[in-house]
């Protein structure tokens, strides 16, 4: 296809969270522009947190997202604890990791099985998967419910939990409540494994990218809710240095700030970044499952993020079992905090990647400044790079297939557009 102008257009991207669009223009087989647009209105969370007491912030930031509220609650809590000079450890730390595992399970399974898998099967939606493979979809439903139930038991409610606070929890669950989940978690190891192996049979588009992978890293564990920020290019920094290395800029075509690294370069956060940066983790069994799924030590094909999500789901089930077995109900459900002025940083691995928080507090504990950098904002630039690369390789495709491929590419990122608005209409213009 040459000396033609092409416009391929999707006005509202499906099976992603939030409102957005994509515009690709191609002239004489050359890509002129790729714009990933987020037009969901900005919600000004950072502005209306100012003047609020630090203790209110986790419950307010939870409302940024109905799928990954834990990322916001815990990042905010951590940042406040950092500012106030307290530390949450032991069984309270176990509970935090456990509820986060619950969020990974429910978020990953919803995206992988219901929203992303249809792309690989040439199906329009998950209903068609259910007709072809009801057992798989039933398992996915039960897995997601398990993730939600973990969040419910630890957090008091599955969506926007109410039991989490700066310093820990309002009430620590009894060990017996958590132990009741163990038989289902044992089942979940098998079912998440079966889904991962089924997805490994998909026909993956051929695309390898040289990603700058950015994630948390912790010496003792596959980092979820603590650690330093690292990249596969040798960066190792404490949280307070994040804003010196990573920046956000406004681009005219998007309501979400775009994240960039070292003055404008794209970078990748999320399951693939975590997987690539933690070679010896998550666990022997999870690595074994990854090998059985055909994944090497490093994954550079963005479409295989669906597999990494299922490996992480398996791992989160394994980890939940371990955490529950080790847990003893603590006498104190939270650590008391003094009210002092200061600045604090928090960062956790939301299902879609690192979610960074910074707050400044005055001497009454009121927020003077809030900065929240969600994962989808950070991935926007890399999404555009992936789109450019796959469109270049797929110019021979007719417009409808190319549009499908572009949407699939965006869904690799499980973009949470309402979080980033800080989302998708797709236009491919061939001039």
């Amino acid at each position: 296809m040459s000396d033609t102008s092409r416009t391929i257009k999707v006005d509202a991207l499906a099976r992603v969270e939030g409102e957005g669009a994509l515009h690709v223009s191609i002239k004489d087989d050359q890509i002129e522009a790729v714009k990933f647009r987020i037009f969901e209105p900005p919600r000004f969370f950072e502005a209306f947190l100012q003047g609020r007491h630090y203790s209110e912030v986790p419950d307010i930031t939870a409302r940024i997202c109905g799928i990954c509220p834990i990322a916001y609650m815990m990042g905010a809590s951590q940042a406040m604890e950092n500012s106030l000079g307290i530390e949450v450890s032991g069984d309270l730390q176990r509970l935090r990791r456990l509820i986060y595992c619950g969020e990974w399970i429910e978020s990953h399974v919803l995206h992988a099985a219901m929203l992303h898998a249809p792309d690989f099967l040439g199906l329009d939606d998950a209903l068609q998967i259910a007709k072809q493979n009801p057992e798989l979809v039933n398992d996915a439903l039960q897995l997601k419910k398990l993730g939600n139930d973990i969040m419910d038991i630890v957090g008091g409610r599955a969506v926007h939990p109410v039991n989490m606070k700066v310093g820990g929890f309002y009430k620590a669950p009894k060990k017996s409540q958590l132990e009741a989940l163990l038989p289902r978690l044992e089942w979940a190891l098998e079912s998440s494994r079966a889904i991962a192996l089924a997805f490994a049979e998909f026909d993956y588009p051929d695309l390898e990218q040289d990603y700058t992978c950015v994630s948390l890293q912790h010496p003792e564990e596959y980092a979820i809710n603590r650690g330093q920020i690292v990249s596969n290019r040798g960066l190792v920094i404490d949280l307070e240095a994040f804003l010196q290395h990573f920046s956000e800029e406004h681009v005219a075509h998007s309501n979400a700030l775009q994240g960039s690294f070292q003055g404008g370069k794209p970078y990748l956060v999320g399951p693939i970044a975590r997987y690539n940066n933690t070679q010896s983790q998550p666990s022997d069994n999870a690595r074994q499952l990854a090998a059985e799924c055909g994944l090497g030590a490093v994954v550079n094909n963005p479409y295989k993020s669906i597999l990494v999500r299922m490996i992480e789901t398996y791992y989160a089930c394994e980890e939940s079992i371990r955490l529950i077995q080790e847990y003893q109900q603590p006498e104190q459900s939270s650590v008391e905090a003094p009210t002092v002025a200061g600045e604090g940083y928090g960062c956790t691995e939301a299902p879609r990647g690192i979610c960074f928080h910074r707050y400044q507090l005055d001497s009454e504990g009121l927020v003077k400044l809030a900065t929240i950098v969600p994962p989808t904002a950070q991935n926007q630039k890399q999404i555009e790079e992936d789109l450019r690369a796959i469109v270049e390789k797929s110019l021979e495709m007719p417009d409808d297939q190319l549009t499908w491929r572009c949407e699939q590419t965006i869904r690799n990122y499980d973009p949470c557009i309402s979080c980033a608005t800080h989302f998708l209409k797709l236009t491919i213009e061939r001039n």
């Binding site: 509202a12 991207l13 499906a14 099976r15 992603v16 969270e17 939030g18 409102e19 109905g66 919803l110 219901m114 929203l115 939606d125 998950a126 209903l127 259910a130 007709k131 009801p134 979809v137 039933n138 996915a140 439903l141 997601k144 419910k145 939600n148 599955a158 969506v159 557009i417 989302f423 998708l424």
Partner: protein
């Protein structure tokens, strides 16, 4: 069958004006000692919510272009739930998809009845449009009448 055998699920977001009609009706029906649950409308979660119940009523706001305040009633066991009535973000796996998914997976309750109330305004805020506000009493009595006659 007694009224307590029924689970009423009020679907919507209380902070998006007319979208709150499902949760608000659930509040009213809870006062009538019915078992109610509030839900965002996310499809997988909905299937989970009705899994252990034989008799379920779903109440949700609709956006079909009908006159605001119009009450749609659908027997979801007998007929397909039209996805153009029930929008759920761009995830496109909402109420209508959940019902059809559950039908395929044989996970529908024995009785599943849907009340949809046509909304006018889904912007940020807590106040219902006057037409939707006026429909509340009528929907409440229709739900109660449905439970009584089934």
């Amino acid at each position: 069958m007694s009224a307590t055998d029924w689970l009423i699920i009020g679907i919507g977001n209380r902070l998006r004006r007319d979208d709150a009609v499902g949760p608000l009706l659930a509040d009213r029906l809870a006062k009538q000692h019915l078992q109610v649950e509030e839900h965002s409308g996310e499809g997988m979660g909905l299937i989970n919510a009705w899994q252990n119940h034989d008799h379920v009523i779903l109440i949700d706001a609709t956006q079909s272009g009908a006159t605001p305040g119009t009450i749609h009633q659908i027997d979801a066991i007998e007929q397909t739930a039209p996805s153009e009535l029930f929008h759920y973000s761009s995830h496109q796996f909402g109420l209508a998809e959940a019902i059809e998914m559950a039908r395929i997976l044989e996970q529908l309750p024995k009785k599943l009845y849907l009340f949809g109330i046509e909304g006018a305004d889904f912007s940020y805020g807590e106040e219902l449009s006057p037409q939707v506000q006026r429909a509340l009493d009528q929907v409440e009595s229709q739900v109660l009448a449905h439970i009584e006659s089934n």
